[in-house]
Symmetry: C2
């Protein structure tokens, strides 16, 4: 089943490569190579290894949601009627495009979601029509983000 311990494979060079590309995936390998004083080929080999190990999931173009008309970011604490309804609830929440993140979690909420909507009308529609209609969801609590002050990835160094 399991192959190898997953993260003991990473040395200092791997970590530094990841750190650079996590901030900007468009930095050329040759430039990374120069900065880390190795050859471009080495960067390529390391990246291929990390892709095969599943350490690298892919790359995203990051857009500013507000500039494409999505102005509302909200967090949603979700109470389930029964914990066993988790799996079916997840499947149905996947169908709701506005849900960008979903966690199964400890604490008062059974699940915790992050939602991005165009405006307050859109949010109300998603809450009332899409999410409250899902079987197993008892009730929800909404936290609306007025400002995203920090948005970044973990620092490996």
């Amino acid at each position: 089943m399991e192959k190898k311990s997953q993260y003991l494979e990473l040395d200092n060079l791997d970590t530094q490569i990841l750190s650079i590309l996590m901030n900007d995936a468009s930095v050329p390998y040759t430039e990374i190579a120069k900065k880390l004083v190795v050859s471009g080929g080495t960067i390529h080999v390391r990246m291929k290894k990390m892709e095969e190990l599943g350490i690298i999931r892919g790359s995203n173009l990051i857009i500013n949601p507000q500039s494409v008309g999505f102005d509302i970011c909200a967090f949603l604490g979700i109470y389930l009627e029964k914990g066993s309804q988790y799996k079916t609830a997840v499947e149905q929440l996947k169908q709701v495009k506005e849900v960008v993140e979903l966690h199964y979690c400890t604490g008062q909420y059974s699940m915790f979601a992050k939602i991005i909507c165009r405006d307050t009308n859109h949010l109300r529609h998603v809450l009332n029509e899409d999410i409250q209609a899902i079987k197993g969801i008892a009730r929800t609590e909404t936290i609306i983000s007025l400002e995203e002050s920090i948005k970044r990835q973990i620092s490996l160094i």
Copy 2:
């Protein structure tokens, strides 16, 4: 060049280009062009326009935090002593590398953070030593994510 209304500029083609690259930033322009039945040059022009308009923020390499030893994802509801302490609290939270997201928000919490840690010891250290020590933070509530079931960007189409 003056600034214009930011998102009315986007037509169907722009939206489709973004949708492809938001899922995988490494898709070549030529392939996008083939799929959308335009020339590669057109993709290039559109991308340049959207970069200049600030719609595109950049690109990220996405890694699996667990595979580099970060096993714990937690959300933190933060209560401030006074709302006016928001700005200084943000500045101090920026220094805490484990905080990957921070929102100023409505509801019971003044602020809401997402934290990624190596293990429970690491989390306890961040909570007790780093975050509770910040001036203005009265108390916090921790929600630990046991599973991230959904993780994606907004769908433009």
